[in-house]
Amino acid sequence: MLQKSSLPPGHDDPWQVGPVTLASRFLLGTAGYPSPAVLGEAIVASGAEIVTVGLKRSLAAAGDNGFVATLREVLERTGARLLPNTAGCRNAQEAITLAHMARELYGTPWLKLEVVGDEHTLQPDPFELLRAAERLVKDGFTVFPYCTDDLVLCRRLLDAGCPLLMPWGAPIGSGQGLLNPHALRTLRERLPDTVLIVDAGIGAPSHAAQAMELGYDAVLLNSAVAQAREPVAMARAFRLAIEAGRGGWRAGVMARQDFAVASTPVLGHPFVLPEQP
């Protein structure tokens, strides 16, 4: 007999970041929205329990048009957690310094560790990333490393003490979707007990659903929502796609076949007609 859960989506299928239990599998970036109000509505519509933030250099006291204030108000209302990033860092030392600043400003040890190694693709630098991760874990951070889909690098990041991995789907902000599903599938298969989050490159809800159908635990994206014609509606669409993809993974997607396999269990032809003269 079918049983209908009375729990909200995700609450019967939680996931963990260390001791923290989460229901939503949608991590949302907060940059590039047309207004603070739209950002706030998009966070609510997404159901996200983790939102990313950054740091920027500042010369004199200056405002940000109210984005951070709105963000803090929405987070207070929704209970979502902050995940500060180290965007813009080009080596381990820069990332380590910025991480400590982020912890002081935001009051959380959670950190999305970004160390970019190529200006054109914004590809993570695996060597500097690992070096920074090793240091920051020792300094008490919970490191969410934004990394490539290289299996050996991912293993080294886990060995360094990262509680999860965030391999890229495609270059940041490109919206190209999952460029290398094979590598992502390999990570899932080789690291079955690791929390895996696809971060970057997702452009459409179908991309997010695909990541979840591969067995990924969550998806992190920003531009696809912020740059949509209607960001709030797109946040809702991604939420549904992520829930659908997760549901598909849990239900077990059928194996692919090279040829057609009739789905209706008929015996031979439905009619036996006399041959035409």
Binding site: T52, R57, A60, L71, Q93, E94
Partner: protein, 73 residues
């Protein structure tokens, strides 16, 4: 005996600031108009925690960077 300069100059993100010799990082933050808890600080690329700014005496030629929260992806 060499004369101690009355002022020092520190480099900022854009431009520089002239300060009385012996000025602390906390004094610079205040002079720039920031609430102490609204920014994070680094001197010559080294993070200086908020609690240590009052003890961080700036030297001539040092680079001071201030960071503030922003939205991010």
């Amino acid at each position: 005996m060499s004369e101690v300069p009355a002022t020092i100059t520190v480099k900022l993100e854009s431009g520089s600031a002239e300060l009385p010799a012996g000025s602390t990082l906390a004094a610079l933050v205040e002079r720039l108009g920031h609430a102490p808890a609204s920014i994070a600080t680094a001197v010559d690329g080294r993070f200086v925690p908020r609690a240590e700014r009052a003890c961080e005496t700036l030297q001539d030629g040092q680079t001071v960077l201030l960071f503030q929260p922003i939205v991010g992806g």
